[in-house]
């Protein structure tokens, strides 16, 4: 019983030997590039840009809090087999991605690092002047990271992804360039409708639960009066809510927007106290029904219209603008 060591060492050698002796074969030219992304939005964009070159899986399903996505064994397996890991960055996923990558121990991804699509996002807002825990926790330490709700995100991300894919698949560079250009054109076309929505909702006042709709609000000319969270990541306090309710009534705020992960009851109560209505909006594309980033943006803008019971005028009238 006690002299287990030799037996265990032999068993260990047998188990590790395959891992040591046979590193996974490098991707052949016919094989698809395995890509894992944090959010479905990025998976869709990688698919559009990479075309036939890539096989993409997303981790988040679409209704999570992006700062605290729950990981599962299948995610570790996914990452261990991937050649490229794509995330938004700006510390949006820093609560769970580093742990996932370290657990998966995929040497290639550890060496290359994840592709941080928004690393040099030029439109960064809400950058804290100081980070001091004595004034509360701020889970947006580098500025607001919820850039996937910005209409400019699609083209921006597509270009970053295009550049990385071309490095990984130089032989397919021409096709990748063409895919990206086509996608940018489609974004431009679909974006016309978002502009018409913006023209309708412009100037209205909103309160958010978590500051994840700020880019959307700015793009649509909405005036952000405040957030139920006193600081990003700090749950609403009664005192803060009371203050906000007063402010909402004074400024005539009609809508409180919140994501699918936030407690709807708190948003509804806060909205009622401030004389507004609570409206749930998506914070990313849905993975399991294959929603594209463009469809998600459409849904988001439809949600804005519905929040104020608005309807887009027929397209003909609009073309005169």
């Amino acid at each position: 019983m006690q002299r287990l060591l030799p037996t265990l060492l032999a068993a260990l050698a047998a188990l590790v030997a395959p891992g040591l002796g046979a590193p996974r074969a490098a991707a052949g030219s016919g094989e698809k590039l395995q890509v894992v992304t944090t959010i479905p939005d990025l998976a869709d964009i990688v698919r559009r840009v990479g075309g036939d070159e890539v096989e993409v899986k997303a981790i988040a399903r679409g209704f999570e809090n992006l700062h605290t996505v729950r990981l599962r064994p299948s995610h570790m397996v996914m990452v261990s087999r991937a050649k490229l890991f794509v995330q938004v960055g700006l510390a949006l996923e820093h609560g769970w991605v580093p742990g996932l990558l370290e657990s998966a121990r995929n040497s290639r991804i550890m060496a290359d690092g994840p592709l941080n699509v928004a690393e040099d996002w030029p439109y960064l807002i809400e950058v804290p002047l100081t980070l001091d825990r004595s004034t509360g926790v701020d889970i947006h330490p580098l500025g607001n990271p919820h850039v996937n709700l910005d209409p400019r995100f699609g083209a921006f991300a597509a270009q970053r992804i295009r550049d990385r894919l071309k490095e990984l698949r130089p032989e397919a560079a021409a096709a990748i360039d063409a895919n990206c250009a086509a996608y940018e054109k489609e974004i431009e076309q679909r974006g016309q409708r978002w502009k018409r929505v913006a023209a309708l909702v412009k100037g209205r006042k909103v309160v958010q639960y978590h500051k994840e709709f700020s880019y959307l609000c700015l793009a649509n000319g909405l005036e952000m009066v405040g957030a139920l969270e006193p600081q990003p990541g700090v749950p609403p306090t009664p005192r803060h809510l009371a203050q906000l309710a007063k402010q909402m009534r004074a400024e005539g705020v009609q809508v409180v927007v919140h994501g699918p992960w936030t407690p709807g009851r708190i948003a509804e109560d806060a909205a009622a106290r401030g004389g507004a209505r609570a409206v749930e909006l998506p914070v990313m594309a849905q993975r399991d029904n294959g929603e594209t980033w463009l469809d998600f943006m459409d849904r988001l803008h439809d949600g804005l219209l519905a929040a104020w019971d608005l309807e887009l005028p027929p397209e003909e009238e609009d073309s005169s603008r």
Binding site: M1, L15, P73, M76, G95, W261
Partner: protein, 435 residues
């Protein structure tokens, strides 16, 4: 063990003051990506501390440093020990950082009101093979779901009684360990570890009740009780006499929102001794020496975790069965004559713990835990410990816990305790907990 409230408070503030400068200097504003390579994927039952920043916050310092405070105000009624106490369970200084692309290291220094000890100091190498890591130095043993975790990070207020009794409250070993995982299909991860240790400690601080003194079998440095005999490890011994730990575990997606994990663990001490001094009735010193002893501890664990689709609510349930074999305890027996003898408890004993925890939002969970074990004595009297707790996280960096504990003893008086525990984290908090 009389804790003066004022003295403890003074010590607490001293530690705070002396470490505050570290906390202040560590301004987390930085464009660098999160760097501290500590804190792996959270498997069910792992500490709730992992929201992100506590383990991850970018640190302008290299290495990332952090301080954890864990103190408790408690009332306990345990025979002779009766009344309230204010304890600084632990103030812990941690540092971790990368050394090169494939090497990193971590360090943890713990102090309670009485002593300072180095609980972790290890180097990790990731370049050996795909999905493999190697560590060497001093680190917590990989046994079951719990023993890697420091007590202040546990989901439960105390280490389950069976683990305290058979392994120790905290068990750091000095040696090396190899970890490897591989996928099975698309939804299952299998991991094993093998560790070899020259030394192993058995820390005893941080529990509410006086444990009955037994030899333990964790090597030297354990808690001291009256008449207790410490097991002794030779500084140098044959290679096959090194302490060995082994663990194999698999976790798999269970449904859309669940994770199921099973595991088996082993810790063997192939060669140790009990040495003691006693006195017979005549007052003559008698030396006792029993060597060439061995002991083994086996564990089986099963854990299930479920989270609501948005990740804010969850259930966790787990159970572990532990069996110890070999020479598990030693006692000096004086039968009232001149005959004094060292009596060894040679045989087996077993115990278990089970718990269930419910998180109804990101700030709150409640749980219950039951643990039973047979004492390492001939009659094997059984203890049964019940714990109920509520944990509240006002922020990611603070935790308040209220707990009620009842110990049902087959032999001896029952004991109970109430506890309010406060834990706070300054800077980055990190330990190399694996899943």
């Amino acid at each position: 063990m009389n804790h003066s409230l004022a003295a403890t408070a003074a010590r607490f503030s001293l530690v705070l003051a002396s470490t505050a400068s570290l906390g202040l200097a560590q301004l987390p504003q930085s464009d660098a990506p999160p760097q501290s390579p500590v804190g792996l994927l959270k498997s069910p039952g792992m500490p709730r501390i992992y929201w992100g920043q506590t383990t991850r916050f970018t640190s302008a310092w290299n290495p990332a440093a952090g301080i954890a405070f864990d103190g408790a105000f408690s009332w306990a009624d345990d025979g002779d020990e009766d009344g309230v106490a204010l304890d600084l369970n632990v103030a812990e200084l941690t540092m971790q950082g990368s050394i090169s692309p494939s090497w990193w290291g971590n360090f943890a220094l713990e102090t309670n009101s009485e002593e300072v000890e180095l609980t972790e100091s290890a180097l990790f190498y990731m370049g050996l093979a795909e999905r493999t890591s190697f560590r060497t130095g001093k680190f917590f043993i990989d046994f079951g779901k719990q023993m890697q975790i420091h007590v202040h990070d546990l989901m439960t207020p105390q280490r389950p009684a069976v683990l305290r009794e058979y392994l120790g409250t905290e068990v750091p070993g000095t040696g090396f360990q190899l970890d490897h995982w591989s996928p099975i299909g698309d939804e299952t991860a299998f991991r094993f570890s093998l560790g070899l240790f020259g030394e192993m400690e058995q820390h005893g601080h941080g529990f509410l009740f006086e444990e009955e003194g037994h030899g333990g079998h964790g090597g030297h440095g354990g808690h001291e009780g009256e008449g207790e005999i410490e097991p002794l490890l030779e500084d140098r011994r044959d290679f096959q006499d090194l302490i060995i730990t082994a663990r194999a575990t698999a976790m798999t997606d269970a449904g859309e929102n669940g994770i199921l994990q099973v595991g088996a663990s082993y810790r063997g001490i192939p060669e140790f001794a009990f040495e003691a001094e006693g006195a017979n009735l005549a007052g003559d010193d008698v030396d006792f020496d029993a060597d060439g002893l061995d002991s083994s501890v086996f564990g089986l664990d099963l854990t299930y975790g479920w989270n609501s689709p948005d990740g804010t609510k969850g259930w966790t349930a787990g159970a572990e069965f532990i069996r110890a074999e070999g020479t598990l305890n030693a006692e000096i027996v004086n039968d009232g004559t001149d005959q004094v003898a060292l009596e060894l408890f040679d045989g087996d004993a077993q115990g278990w713990f089970a718990y269930a925890d419910h998180a109804w939002n990101q700030q709150n969970n409640v749980g219950i835990m039951v643990s039973a074990f047979e004492h390492l004595e001939d009659e094997r009297p059984e203890d049964l410990e019940y714990t109920a707790y509520w944990t509240h996280f006002p922020t990611e960096f603070t935790r308040v816990r209220v707990a009620a504990i009842h110990m049902d003893r087959e032999e001896g008086e029952d004991a109970q305790a109430l506890m309010v525990q406060l834990t706070g984290y300054i800077g980055a908090h990190g330990h190399p907990y694996n899943w």
